[in-house]
Symmetry: C2
Subunit: 436 residues, 2 copies
Amino acid sequence: MDTLVHNVWIITMDNSEKRIPFHGYLSILDGRIHDIDSGKPDQSLIDEAKEVIDGGGKWLMPGLVNTHGHLGSSLLRGHGDDLKLVTWLKTVMWPNEAKFDHDLVQTAAELAMMEMISSGTTTFLDMYHLAMPELAQMVQEKGLRAVLCRGMIAFGTESEQDEKIREAVSLADSYHNAADGRIRVMMSPHAPYTCPPDFYLKAAEQAMNHQLMLHTHISESPGEVDEHLRKYGMRPVEHMHRLGLLNDEVLLAHAVHLTDEELSMLKETNTAVSHNPMSNLKLGSGIARVPEMNRQGIRVSLGTDSTASNNNLDLFEEMRFAALIHKGVNHNPESTDAYSILRMATVDGASILGYSQTGTIRQGSDADFILINPDQPHLTPWTPERVVSHLVYAAKGSDVTDVWIRGRRQLENGFFLEFDRERILHKSNELVKYFE
Amino acid sequence: MDTLVHNVWIITMDNSEKRIPFHGYLSILDGRIHDIDSGKPDQSLIDEAKEVIDGGGKWLMPGLVNTHGHLGSSLLRGHGDDLKLVTWLKTVMWPNEAKFDHDLVQTAAELAMMEMISSGTTTFLDMYHLAMPELAQMVQEKGLRAVLCRGMIAFGTESEQDEKIREAVSLADSYHNAADGRIRVMMSPHAPYTCPPDFYLKAAEQAMNHQLMLHTHISESPGEVDEHLRKYGMRPVEHMHRLGLLNDEVLLAHAVHLTDEELSMLKETNTAVSHNPMSNLKLGSGIARVPEMNRQGIRVSLGTDSTASNNNLDLFEEMRFAALIHKGVNHNPESTDAYSILRMATVDGASILGYSQTGTIRQGSDADFILINPDQPHLTPWTPERVVSHLVYAAKGSDVTDVWIRGRRQLENGFFLEFDRERILHKSNELVKYFE
């Protein structure tokens, strides 16, 4: 046994019938969960383990899964807020991103990974257009788990477009299913308003050839849907459906403005959604029809989007927004429930990204889990029956004290084991001094 | 000089023209801010001070102001969620509250005060029906700042109603403007659906006689508005207006379902609002028309409501919800802006509660301020220009390291100086084991 963690309250997310955590222990062998049981471990288990950790009564749960983001733009956090989308893109995003180099993007990615790890995220998806092989290398070396997408905007010439697809395929050739399966690669045309139908078809063909999933933004704001309707006579999701682009290997980010018919198309094709409530609110995009998606059994996960439009990567906050806004907008507190939201952020998110070995705590799955310190005013009082509620309605990313990904400890009592915290924070602050 | 805090970035909230913090220092004398300036303090100031604190480049801002809550029900956090209002009241709130004794309510209040202090709140309003004199005593002794309201539900006989009013008046006699003005008392009929018009008039008369403000719930959910219309032929705010109950000494909690006419009544009478976005979402009540209130110049502050319907007391989260939901619902990122939201949670909240000496950092005002540690991934990168954005869109209550109220330090690098943390958390957990 490599590691034994005992004296913890375990939330498995593996069985909807068992929503109440039990007091017990788990052990890790070769990156996987080996033993898991209630009560105290036998002395023989303790003797066998190379490392024994007393969890001190903390909560142990699967690491969180963030199914949509853009790490490369993390240094734009707070650089332009409260602006209309077009103003924001033209005055904040594009002028700055045009000047980003690989070094800056790598620092931004490191910063984002630190923020995610320290707030309990063990699996993330990144869609970006710069320095993706460098990111893949970092993810591999540091022992992280990530879905990497070379985001493609198809505004250029055909040869420029082809070059982007070649880059995406090359990323997949090198890294898809690499690092013990921790890294996955998806084909990622940016959005219907930046990529013509032809380009989507090309991307989808390559996805099929290389057995990759497809990830794209869709129907985020009312304006883009209207424009699509004018241009093609169809709404974006409907259009993708007609092109044969919807299936269970497709993940749509945002999916805010969908008609009943479009929801049916998602259900029928088993297409998945990344719900990004905070970003959708902040940019004034709107509120996705998540309770309706849940009712229909459409697969929904949670994503933060980037810090340029959120402005943080704490999935506990994202869960809270997802849990609360739909109740308020629909005037119905039964619109969502805490356990379903926690599923979106763990087991459902993992499954949607194509990972079968993470998102739950069970024997044989990868040891991706986090510890949460309940000994705090805002998580008090607690009983086992209240833990799921507290995780969704009261906990913060800062309550996470320890993080393991595939058995490798990333955070130990709040300290990063794989990142040079001081250097990255300092460099980030230096790099932004001359932003426009 | 009692205390000198230097090497801090100061956000004064005192001048809308100066939204960018400056690097400087402040000193405290007899509970008030004595010196405040940019740059480094002179050696003479340092020599004069009894205590010199190097802020280490942290952000210093006014303590936050929570204008609506119920501390006594804090132990119900997470005990019943995702329920319709009536089910929640009948199965969770009422059966448990009926069994609350003074000891339990005091523990609940201590827990809530710890949560608020540790997340940067230096002024709170509490409306509750039990153990208010005991709470007043605690607030006085511990050096806190609070508005205390003996909440009154007028379901009983006339003599029971009168007894409640007598209790409220007695609380005011003993504590209004007590403790160097830290404690204020308001008259607080619970809500139009629990108090008949007669009772409101009686309460208002006592408020006038004793120079107290009036605080009440109003138009929180669609159902209560409909019922009021059926019963009285008028909507609640309209009804209060006709009864002559709206004026600039009145604070309405929630005020979610208001017509254009009712908004005009608030504007015309300068009546103030406590916006409680998270509780309103969680109970499925709806979303108050805050951008419209702001446009009209209606005074708006922020409140958490209780942990039974929020489920936390972190005003940073409340700010985030207030800042984001209106943008999303109105499809307009310009609906709210970070600085206005920060005003609601500081200077506007203080002014609405009747405090002129807190809510801003300026010479002569009470030394109610907090320190925030920006040296964290989720607050990186930062420049002075980004601080207001980070406070509203990225910061957490857990970023608060130090808290002073009227010059008395309540939190020192995360440690409570006036509360027995271990005892209160332990007792809270013990008390709830047998809740229904």
